[in-house]
Structure formats: C-alpha cells, structure tokens
Symmetry: C2
Subunit: 259 residues, 2 copies
C-alpha cells in the first residue's frame, strides 16, 4: 500500500481523474485516486465527486455506493455472459461456459490499470474483498444454471453443473490473479486458454463416451481405443497385447468403448 500512496501523492491532485471525458471513467478515476492517497475508509462520496469536478447527485447517477465506483459493471457483464450462452450453437457445455467467460476476462484486460488498482485495494480492505467474492458467486450461479439446463435435471446433472461452474470460475480467477500479481505482464489469454483446456479435458475427457451423453457420440468424433500398459513392459509384449485386444474388439462393442 505504501508504494501506491507515494505514487499517487507524487501526481498533481485530480490530474488523472479529470483527464477522462466519460463521466463514469472520471468518477472511477477519482475514487481510485482518493482510496490510494487518503485510504478507503476516509474517502467520502462528496470528495470523489469534487475531485472529478461533478456533483454528488451525478455520482449517484452512475454508482449506488462508494465501493461500486471501483468494481466492474457486473450487472452489464452478467447480461453479456448470459446472452453469449444463449447464442451458443456449438461446443460442449464446458466449452460453452469457458467461451462465455472470455467476455469477463477481456473486460479486465481492457482496463488493466483499473484492474490493478482494484486488486491492490481488495487485497487490503476486507469489505472490498468480500464484495468482490460476492460478485464472483453471481457468475458461478449463472454458469451453474446454464450447465444444469444442458446436463439435465438428474441429481448427477445438477452436481456436475455445480462442479463445472466452480472449476471454470476458479480457472478464470486463477489466471486473472496471476496476471495481476505479475503487474499485468505475460500472456494472459494463452494462460486462460490452457487453463480452460485443462478444465474441459478434466470434465469432458476426449476418449470415454457416455460421460456426457450425446456429446461424445457426435459424428465428427472418431472411435478410439485406449490401451494402458506398465511402462516397464517390453515392446514385444505390448504389441502382442494389442493384437489380442484387436481380435477381441470386433465381436464386442463396435463403438470401441472398451477399457
């Protein structure tokens, strides 16, 4: 926190916030500036409005409270995520929610200065941290609801929906926090893709069918055979074992679902 205070104090007061033409961004800039210099508790809505060169009334046209000023517009983002899920015409359920969460991720990437300031504030002020955690849970509920509609209303479907939603959110936040901790450096999009690939492969493994019903039986999915061997086994024995499996495969399950 000390570094932030010094950095902010070195700037001419009001410089950053007044730069923005957009009133929303100006108010947010003023709030971040004052939280960093005077502390979160001591900053009033009046002071934020004053620094932004606006009235208290204008502040409340854009935000419902002091802490609202530094958080992303989750209401709009949730609507966007929901719309994206609704428009999804291809992909597995896990792929769909991962794709939709890119919308949220990009909103942090676009505004990385604000994301970084917010990260530093939520790290030191428990009220703000709790508030952020509560926001995250709204995305999780939205994803759970969508996944529930795809997995079906069975007890297993409902559980799977909860677990996948929790894992997707955890993967998103893990990559986001890592990028913020490193001062917004690195390749966050690549990291997110990898993390989401890992979630997809965990919950929708490529080979075994039947895990997610129709998904694994789609036409563009080549039937596969999986063989597991001890790595200490000589190659000749492995070849022999495969030959035996090949003999056995035909009369059994033509879809190659064995093993």
């Amino acid at each position: 926190m000390n570094e932030r205070v010094d950095k902010a104090a070195a700037r001419p007061p009001g410089f950053a916030p007044r730069r923005h033409r957009d009133p929303h961004a100006r108010l947010r800039g003023a709030a971040l500036e004052l939280f960093a210099t005077n502390g979160y508790q001591s900053t009033t809505v009046d002071a934020i409005a004053q620094l932004a060169g606006m009235s208290r009334r204008t502040f409340f046209r854009y935000f419902s409270s002091k802490e609202d000023a530094i958080f992303p517009d989750h209401d709009s983002l949730l609507v966007e995520v929901e719309a994206r899920l609704g428009a999804m015409s291809s992909g597995s359920p896990v792929e769909a929610v991962c794709a939709a969460m890119h919308t949220v991720f990009e909103s942090y990437l676009t505004d990385h200065d604000v994301a970084l300031e917010r990260y530093q504030l939520t790290h030191t002020i428990p009220t703000l941290r709790d508030r952020e955690i509560a926001s995250v849970s709204r995305y999780q509920r939205l994803l759970t609801s969508y996944l529930g509609s795809r997995y079906g209303r069975s007890a297993k479907g409902a559980l799977q929906a909860e677990l996948v939603a929790a894992a997707v959110i955890a993967a998103h936040n893990h990559v986001l926090r890592r990028w913020l901790r490193r001062g917004c450096t690195g390749r966050p999009r690549v990291d997110l893709d990898r993390a989401f690939e890992y979630v997809c492969s965990t919950f929708e493994p490529a080979a075994p069918p039947d895990r997610l019903g129709d998904q694994a039986r789609s036409d563009d999915c080549d039937p596969a055979t999986i063989a597991v061997f001890r790595s200490s086994l000589p190659l000749a024995e492995i070849t022999e074992a495969i030959a035996r499996l090949a003999d056995e495969a035909d009369p059994l399950d033509p879809d190659g679902t064995a093993v």
Copy 2:
C-alpha cells in the same frame, strides 16, 4: 419468510432462547427468534441480549456483530479443518480435503434447526448471503493452500489445487443446500460421500498416471503408459507409433509443469 414469521409468532416469546444453558446458544437462539419475528434490519443487539436475559456486554463477549450471532463459528471450524489436514497421513490430496470437509458438514448436521433458520435468512437478506459467501471462500483458500503444498509449486500444480478446492467446496455446498431445501430430510451423509467420490474420480481417475504429479509416481503405484489410437489404424502402424513414443518419453519434461 411469511411461514417462518407465523411459526415464530405462535411460540411464546423468549421460550426457545431461554431454554439453553449455554450462553452462546441462548444468544443465538434469541437472535434467530427476533430475526424471524421482527426482521433482520429491525433487530438490535440490545433486543437480542434482552430476550436471552443477558447484557449487551455479554453479547459482545461471544459475537462481534449482530450477523455473527447466526453464523457458525467459522474461525474454530477453520482451525479444525486445518488440523485435520495436517494430521492426514494417508489418502490422495483430493481424498484428504474431502475427509477434512466432513468436519464442516457435521457441524451443520448437528445443529440442523439453526442451519435451517440461517438458510432461510441468508436466502432473503443479501447482506447475510454475501457474508456467508465470504465465509465459504475462506475454506476454499485453506484447501487450495493445502492442495498446493501436495501438488507442488508448478503452474499446473497451482491450477490443479484451485480447481480441486473449488470442486470440493461446490460439492459440499451442493449437498448441504439440497438437504436444507428439503427441510433437513434424506440421507445427507450418503449424498456427500457420493458427491465426494465423484470429485475424486474426476480429478484422480484410477488408471491414468501423470495427472497428479508425485501422487502417480509414489512407490505403490506402477508407472503406466496410455496410448490412444484410431481403431481403424493397422496394427503395424500402432506398433511403430508406440516405439516412437517410447523414444520420445524420456527427454520430455519430468515435472509435467505445462498448462
């Protein structure tokens, strides 16, 4: 909410809270009673203390705020979960965190009247719901930290720790909420065991090695090789491919830090 208010109003005032000898339970009973009859916002700490037949000062000896009075003692529970994880000498990382979370689950089961009243309150009062969500995240951080120490400090280990912790917490809460929604009926312990088994089999499938780093390399676990081929491929090509794989296996990343 209306049903609860009626139910509470039908009881002689102060009956339930005064029954308990334990001051902690008496104060909590009084808080629940008043929240249900007069509403959460209108209930003061003074009113709670008065109904319990105690002083305001005594109230603050047991709770730091009005809402504290209805939540489980998460500080103690977190210490218990941490101690249980520390004492875990067998089982995989996922099994260990699932076992430790039984402690939390049992605390809800033991006090099911309070759990039910709390569930109804957190459902209708956003402040309380956010507060509960923030509590849940403390368990998730604790499990992530334990799992991180078991999976290793690689990028993959850190991600895996986050995902497993999120899934275990989601499974726990899914079963808990389902039981509460059904008015504390059914077989919650059986449901929890099944949900945890599902989490374990998702993150630690029986066959594939390498998924969990050191875990799969422990002495009692034979290293294995998995090969996936199109079932239409001629056997000769499969044998050749295996030979190639065997050559390539050694120089690859022994820690599997990718992802």
